[in-house]
């Protein structure tokens, strides 16, 4: 039932749903990612802070909800720790995360929040045990470092979603969108085949494409270019989102994607939410997000959609990175569907 609500409420036009069908797609995907075991009731979710600082009180709503979903929780030593902006020193954050990656009893790791800090420890994280016994790593924004690093180096699927700091204090007073997006984490963790329906934007480029879903925060993706965490996007569906950036800076970041070869061989491009920092007085950039994106991809012919519900915003649904999805961008509806 939850799932039905989840779908129907994000469909603005509920009438005509099957414009295309999804049978088994004959995909010859080389080197597919490993899918960590989905969670069962009683499984344990660990919470830690690889980046910014959070108080114990701030993660309470998330703990309650995880328990309600039937999971037990382990609160890491970095929750409540503070080293300026960080949830503990580099060593402390590394150690907490490492312990959770290695502990077989922990089936998923939900980051408490983003901020900045993952890249400071990523090269010291040991993924050997994780690679043998993969588990779900969950977060977004600064956690894009983990999504890229794990996809690129260990070929394990991860979950791009809201973190503890987005769980509402009072569930009963939360708006429907907020509840659904958080419930989508539960659906992902329990192995639901995910499906997202969203409104078309008139600037969308229509088409149908199937490929591995990768992406995350645009600024973070740019900052990983040239490193061993750099994501390769050939034959993949890429999604990006960002917040608090000037339009010129967003333009520059899309040039980085393009000039580092990340837009050329995509199967599809998904543009999530972009919270734009207003131009300074007298410095109007003169281009919209849609124009910025479309001019970069004009020589390619894959589908492109805008306003996908992912980003630093309420409508930020959980997405399985590294998992094959089909993106259908049509004039009257758009959908992203997980393939099995």
């Amino acid at each position: 039932m939850k799932r039905k609500q989840f779908i129907s409420s994000i469909v603005p036009l509920a009438a005509t749903l099957s414009a295309f069908a999804h049978g088994k797609t004959n995909l010859n995907i080389q080197n597919p990612t490993a899918i960590p075991p989905y969670l069962k009731p009683g499984d344990m979710v660990g919470i830690c802070c690889p980046a910014g600082y959070i108080t114990e009180a701030e993660i309470k709503p998330a703990l309650l909800k995880l328990n309600e979903w039937g999971f037990t929780t382990r609160v890491g030593s970095t929750v409540g720790k503070k080293d300026f902006t960080y949830g503990g020193t580099d060593d402390e954050r590394l150690q907490d995360l490492q312990q959770m990656l290695d502990d077989k009893n922990i089936k998923a790791i939900l980051f408490a929040r983003g901020g900045y800090g993952a890249v400071r420890i990523i090269d010291r994280v040991d993924f050997k045990k994780f690679k043998r016994n993969p588990k779900w790593v969950i977060g977004f924004s600064d956690a894009t470092v983990f999504h890229s690093h794990i996809n690129e180096n260990y070929r394990v699927a991860t979950i791009h979603s809201k973190m503890c700091n987005s769980f509402p204090d009072d569930w009963s007073k939360a708006e429907a969108m907020q509840k659904e997006t958080i419930e989508s984490i539960n659906l992902c963790l329990k192995g639901e085949k995910m499906k997202y329906l969203f409104s078309p934007n008139e600037k969308n480029r229509t088409g149908l494409a199937t490929g591995e879903l990768v992406g995350g925060n645009l600024k973070t993706l740019e900052s990983l270019a040239g490193s061993r965490t750099n994501i390769h996007t050939t034959d993949k569906i890429l999604f990006v989102e960002d917040t608090g950036e000037y339009l010129y800076s967003i333009d520059r970041m899309f040039w980085n994607l393009k000039r580092s070869g990340k837009l050329e061989k995509l199967k599809g491009l998904i543009i999530g939410g972009f919270k734009i920092k207003p131009d300074d007085a007298g410095e109007a950039f003169g281009k919209t997000i849609e124009e910025i994106v479309l001019e970069k991809v004009s020589e390619y012919d894959y589908p492109v959609c805008f306003d996908f519900p992912v980003g630093h915003q309420k409508n930020n649904y959980a997405l399985k990175c590294g998992v094959i999805h089909t993106l259908g961008v049509h004039l009257n509806e758009c959908r992203l569907t997980e393939e099995r």
């Binding site: 902006t85 960080y86 900045y116 900052s223 990983l224 010129y248 040039w255 980085n256 410095e283 003169g286």
Partner: protein
């Protein structure tokens, strides 16, 4: 081997173009007057004081065509960018350097022009000048403006600055590369990503969040650009911003900590910046970097 453009003589012509942000014509007037005082002809492109109503000094095509024309015109002996801002990255892949490579000339600027410097160094293999642009001349003539005059006329430069507590001493000779940190980070992974191995790298930036400087330093390091340097010159990191929860480090401490594991000479507070303190530096040319406990010197070899 990198080609060194001919130095300028009296009567040579300097072209002024704006490949990025908009610039009002009067803001370049002091610069034009000074260049003429120095004995040069000045040719001003239409992108300076253009009719553009938005951020840029003209459309991509206008900025590109004007830069291309100045690169190709044999009667223009150097190109001074009016200002930076943002925009070079939008046209760089459409510029044709074939003629320029045969008849190289000095390309002058900094900040967003770092893209052009990196491209010239990496792909065209011609030296260029990281130096004050037109608006810097509005402060009147000073040693930094003069350093540009010296550089374009072929006088070998010697720069010195005071010691800094984070400096690491040493004495090396190597090719100089560098520019604005944000742009160097942004170019990582692209065709203009510079190889810094055995080079002296200089960096400067303005108006960045301290955490973002940390992230960019991590990017340089993780993409292998800090490991095998001959030396590092840290210029001004001015107008830095901090997060609501303080980052807990000053910007120079951030930089110092990222390179703590390396032993090459490093100096801080070198006069290359978005402020007045901005000496002309020839990218691609060999310099001697001498850092002692009492003094830092950068000497053109």
């Amino acid at each position: 081997m990198i080609k060194i453009p001919p130095y300028l003589k009296k009567g040579n012509c300097i072209g002024i173009t704006c490949p990025a942000g908009y610039m009002a014509a009067q803001k370049a007037q002091a610069c034009i007057n000074m260049l003429q005082n120095w004995g040069f002809e000045v040719m001003v492109g239409k992108t300076l004081g253009s009719k553009s109503k938005n951020y840029f000094s003209g459309t991509d095509a206008q900025r590109r065509d004007e830069m291309q024309a100045m690169l190709d015109d044999e009667n223009i002996h150097a190109i001074l960018c009016g200002r930076g801002g943002y925009g070079v990255g939008r046209i760089i892949d459409e510029l044709d350097f074939t003629k320029f490579k045969k008849n190289p000339k000095w390309v002058i600027g900094f900040s967003d022009v770092t893209v052009l410097h990196a491209h010239l160094f990496k792909n065209v293999k011609v030296a260029s000048l990281h130096a004050p642009m037109a608006s810097a001349f509005n402060d009147g003539e000073n040693e930094y403006i003069q350093s540009l005059q010296h550089a374009i006329t072929g006088k070998k430069s010697t720069y010195s600055c005071k010691p800094h507590v984070y400096n690491k001493t040493g004495n090396v000779i190597a090719q100089l590369v560098g520019g604005n940190l944000s742009l160097l980070a942004h170019l990582t992974g692209t065709a203009d990503d510079i190889d810094t191995k055995n080079k002296i790298l200089f960096i400067e930036d303005i108006g960045e969040q301290i955490y973002n400087v940390d992230r960019m330093m991590y990017q340089l390091n993780r993409s292998g650009k800090l490991k095998n340097l001959a030396g590092l010159i840290v210029g001004g990191f001015t107008d830095m911003e901090d997060t609501e929860r303080p980052f807990g480090k000053k910007v120079y401490a951030v930089i110092k900590d990222t390179i703590a594991q390396y032993n090459y000479p490093v100096c801080f507070n070198f006069p290359v910046s978005h402020k007045k303190e901005n000496v002309a530096l020839k990218i691609g040319i060999e310099y001697r970097l001498k850092i002692s406990k009492t003094n830092t010197q950068l000497l053109e070899v």
